[in-house]
């Protein structure tokens, strides 16, 4: 029997003028002990669905139709007091952003135990005890100390554990997790998802797991609902959905994954356009404007859900019939490195920050690598490992504490200020959040002309035509010049960011998490564009990301960083498919695979958190978390090897023959 059933649920959000029809006749069910995955692009209505269930809709939000049956009782017909009890006792919710979802001025213990105090009248002392107990259960280190801490003293992963503890302390029958790991590193993500899995079995809960990441769904959910523009367009068991998706939108989402690209030269499939505006009346299949298979019939008729199998519904007139496969990408065919002259060569780079009397933060500790002309070097690692610092040093935004940066044969450190500034025209940065890096009161033409003006390139007319050409290169219409940044979507902003970094005709672009904030479909558009421009203009990239599959798709070579050190570097296919460092292997295994048959091996899982870069571990910096650590690891392992180098006393494997020089 189903624990929660949504029947024809429609939710509106009133705006100053009109309303957004966020949900349109949604039907879903979740059974006891089962995990339902809800997936879709941002804005598809995933969050509104779960907030409707919790009764936590934003101001103006209202359920306008349907029923929410929890254990057979309609929540919408309940008295407010009773509803609060159900919400506080039988349901628990984990939110997307662990950094802001805790009260900043209330101790962790008090927040976690609050439901007990309110709904069960538990005494203060007992509440504290129960809080410690549940914090221990969710894997919080030193729970008896953490209960008395404030949220800002905890890392993102630990805060998310606290929120989960808060949801679980009331032993709920339904746990709702809305993008619980989107803001976290892969290694932390894996720990949190495993925790939710374990707890589901232990507490016999039903779980709704909302995510935009198909990989997360594939490895964790029993059944999946795919949402698009406020509707459920397909539901099936996870295995069935990935084996035989029927809806064209589901198919497109799968094709847009970097893992789905065939070979190093393959282009990603990207879904053109954007989801529709839900405040306007819509007819026909809502995906039709972006669908490759759309016909007039799709646009004219309302497409109902039909049954493909016992537990498989979809709403598409021209469903997928061929099978989708995730063919493992051809290993080994490393692209010939274009020219052998490196455009950038970094030697023994060191960056330390003063930590105000408490010692020094070692952000980058002796990193060396080269980037050749026309090549993409990917840098991966957990947040805080020093990736972005390397990027900022290379782009000249900060001065290194030690080491050399050689750009195009010239040692930057040896130049005077002006020459250095001119030299840095060759290197430009592209950010994760282009919006934050733009002046919101400046129009796009101003934003793009600014670097030209600062470097005094050309006359006004020349600059104007250069800017128009730049926009054309990144695939935006000339109209965009007169608009302001807030008028653009995330993907368009990344295009503008790319255009700005191209303005001075650099030879190297340092892209710091350029697609991390984008949906897969939009991510594919930006990645394709970056690749096209690379071959067109002969650019080199330093591509920084925490997402291994994206780096694997983009990079010729990959460098893996851990706590300020380079631990492995080599050809992309080698590093991803024949990792030599235990940390690299752990990163790879932590990435949820969109292939449901692919179970992650527990042997390589790393536990705990990245240690502080203030007084990092001596010797191998990974040894505090490494499953293979021995006494000798107290001495620092050198970075050794041919093309595929590793810094480890016990590398997982020998260098593959193909990679030896």
């Amino acid at each position: 029997m189903s624990l929660l059933r949504l029947v024809d649920l429609s939710t509106d959000i009133a705006l100053r003028r009109g309303a957004v029809h966020a949900l349109d006749h949604v039907n879903l069910e979740v059974r006891q002990g089962e995990t339902l995955g809800v997936v879709g692009e941002s804005g598809s209505g995933k969050t509104m669905t779960v907030l409707s269930v919790m009764g936590l809709l934003p101001p103006g939000g209202r359920v306008v139709n349907g029923q929410i049956l929890f254990d057979g009782r309609d929540l919408l017909a309940m008295a407010p007091d009773e509803l609060r009890r159900v919400r506080g006792v039988e349901m628990g919710m984990v939110f997307q952003d662990p950094l802001t979802s805790l009260n900043p001025t209330m101790r962790i213990g008090a927040q976690v135990a609050e439901p007990l105090r309110v709904h069960q009248g538990v005494s203060k002392a007992e509440a504290r005890e129960r809080a410690v107990e549940i914090l221990r259960r969710v894997g919080m280190p030193r729970p008896d100390k953490i209960v008395d801490d404030y949220p800002h003293q905890l890392s993102g992963g630990m805060r998310q554990r606290a929120v989960i503890a808060m949801a679980l302390i009331r032993s709920p029958r339904l746990l709702i997790a809305d993008e619980p790991t989107t803001a976290l590193d892969v290694t932390t993500q894996r720990q949190i998802l495993e925790l939710i899995d374990d707890l589901r079995d232990e507490f016999k809960m039903a779980v709704i797991l909302v995510t935009h990441d198909l990989g997360v769904i594939a490895s964790r959910a029993d059944r999946v609902a795919v949402m698009y523009a406020g509707r459920v367009v397909e539901t099936a068991t996870t295995e069935e959905l990935f084996r035989a998706p029927r809806h064209r939108y589901t198919e497109a989402l799968m094709h847009a994954l970097p893992e789905a690209a065939q070979g190093r030269e393959g282009r990603l499939y990207s879904i053109p356009g954007l989801p529709p505006d839900l405040s306007q009346p819509l007819t026909g299949c809502r995906f039709a404007p972006r669908c490759r298979h759309a016909t007039d019939a799709c646009r004219a008729t309302d497409v109902p859900l039909v049954r493909a199998a016992e537990d498989h519904l979809y709403a598409c007139l021209h469903p997928v019939t061929e099978a989708v496969t995730f063919a493992p990408r051809g290993a080994g065919e490393a692209r010939p490195a274009a020219a052998s002259e490196p455009i950038l060569s970094v030697r023994e780079l060191v960056k330390e920050y003063d930590a105000g009397g408490k010692g020094r933060v070692s952000a980058v500790a002796g990193v060396s690598f080269e980037v050749k002309a026309g090549e993409t070097l990917g840098i991966v690692g957990e947040s805080g490992c020093g990736k972005s610092t390397v990027g900022r040093l290379v782009a000249g935004l900060e001065e290194p504490t030690g080491g050399q940066i050689v750009l195009d044969g010239t040692d930057i450190g040896a130049l005077d200020r002006r020459a250095r500034r001119r030299m840095h025209r060759e290197v430009q940065l592209m950010f994760q959040d282009s919006y934050a890096a733009m002046n919101p009161r400046m129009r796009v033409d101003g934003i793009l002309t600014e670097p030209l003006e600062i470097q005094q390139v050309g006359d006004p007319a020349g600059r104007r035509s250069r800017v128009t050409r730049l926009l054309d290169q990144v695939g935006l219409p000339t109209r965009a010049l007169e608009r302001y940044p807030h008028e653009f979507s995330g993907g368009q902003l990344q295009r503008i960011g790319l255009a700005r970094s191209l303005a001075l005709e650099p030879r190297l672009i340092v892209a710091d998490e350029p697609v991390s904030a984008l949906d897969v479909s939009i991510q594919a558009q930006v990645l394709n564009l970056m690749r096209d421009l690379q071959s067109e203009l002969g650019l080199s990239y330093v591509f920084i990301s925490h997402d291994l599959s994206v780096v694997d798709y983009m990079a010729d070579r990959i460098a893996v960083m851990y706590l300020g050190k380079l631990v492995e570097i080599g050809p992309a296919s080698q590093v991803v498919r024949a990792a030599r460092h235990p940390y690299t292997q752990a990163l790879i295994d932590a990435v949820p695979s969109p292939d449901p048959g692919h179970a992650p091996s527990p042997a390589t899982a790393i536990r705990g958190e990245l240690p502080s870069a203030l007084n990092p571990p001596t010797g191998c910096r990974f040894r505090t978390r490494c499953p293979l650590a021995q006494d000798i690891c107290r001495t620092e392992p050198p970075l050794e090897g041919g093309l595929h180098q590793v810094a480890c006393h016990f590398p997982l494997r020998e260098e593959a023959a193909a990679a030896r020089p």
Binding site: R87, V89, F95, P115, V118, H119
Partner: protein, 319 residues
């Protein structure tokens, strides 16, 4: 923390010195002059010159300023010939009375403004919000002098409930012995403060109610009252502490008008009378005191903020 305090105190000192310098220069260039004010219309040019020479007013400006600072360091604020007492004495006599007025009106204002601001935030963009908003705008826009007059006319003349004049006692004790006389000045001064504070509380509460942690609190099935009192109120009131420090100058200019209107012998009235008589030593002394109080007020507010907000508290103790 100690280092932070020291830097802040250093900054405060620089600001205070700057304020005295500016006041000094402005007073110097005002027309008329102390000599005429003191010696009267009949004084001959020779008498005036002699007076200026005695007082050092004929020396170059920077020299006069240096002399002033020198005395200041020794704790000598100067001497008022017109009051025939030292500036320090004049101020110590009146300061407690102004403090009583300011404290009472601020306390009254805070007690009224917090609930008003909270109600506005909780019922934002509904009629309670609009009504309170309109009233506080009205309070903002009404000149305090006019407001005080209305108070006197209404509550001392039309309905003679309260005395129209503040207590005239020479000492603080005498003033406090006549609390009825303090009511109208306190209320008049509080009205503007309520308007400022309630708007501040409202916007700070609205910001907090939109935070994600409020949604988390609601997800626990808490009642709306518990969400507001238990979660948002504390966070919402932190910024108000800073306002307490920043609001001092406005409070003093309010006191200036109110004291004059109700004839209350405090600092405001002293300043007013000294300005009419061009009693420079007093004007300089009061300005100095107000600037010191303002700078210290801001500092105390920041330290207080750090003491109550765990986020700031930790950062401060770490660095």
């Amino acid at each position: 923390m100690a280092r932070y305090l020291l830097t802040r105190l250093g900054q405060a000192l620089v600001i205070v010195i700057l304020v005295t310098l500016i006041t000094f220069v402005i007073l110097h260039f005002l027309p008329g002059g102390a000599a005429r004010a003191i010696l009267g219309k009949e004084a001959t040019l020779e008498q005036i010159a002699a007076f200026n020479h005695d007082m050092g007013y004929d020396r170059p400006l920077w020299e006069q300023y240096a002399l002033y600072l020198q005395r200041l360091v020794r704790g000598d604020l100067g001497y008022s010939f017109q009051l025939n007492q030292s500036v320090a004495e004049a101020i110590t006599q009146r300061l407690p009375k102004t403090m009583v007025l300011s404290l009472a009106s601020t306390a009254l204002a805070v007690v009224i403004a917090i609930p008003l601001g909270v109600v506005q935030a909780v019922r934002r963009n509904k009629w309670p919000d609009y009504t309170i908003n309109a009233l506080s705008l009205l309070a903002y826009a009404t000149p305090i002098f006019f407001l005080g007059l209305m108070m006197i006319i209404l509550f001392a003349q039309v309905w003679p409930l309260l005395p129209p004049e503040a207590p005239q006692g020479f000492t603080l004790g005498e003033v406090l012995a006549d609390p009825a006389g303090l009511v109208l000045p306190t209320v008049t001064l509080a009205v503007l403060t309520v308007a400022v504070y309630s708007r501040y509380v409202r916007s700070s509460m609205v910001d907090n109610l939109n935070e994600n942690y409020v949604r988390t609190a609601r997800s626990k099935g808490l009642s709306e009252g518990r969400v507001i009192v238990g979660h948002t109120l504390r966070n919402g009131l932190f910024p108000v502490i800073t306002l307490l420090g920043m609001y001092l100058p406005a409070l003093f200019s309010g006191a200036l008008v109110v004291e004059r209107l109700f004839n209350y012998p405090g600092m405001g009235l002293l300043f007013w009378q000294s300005a009419l008589k061009r009693d420079y030593p007093i004007l300089l002394g009061v300005t100095l005191l107000i600037s010191v109080a303002t700078v210290l007020g801001a500092l105390v507010a920041d330290v207080l903020y750090a003491a109550v907000d765990p986020r700031v508290r930790l950062k401060a103790s770490r660095s």
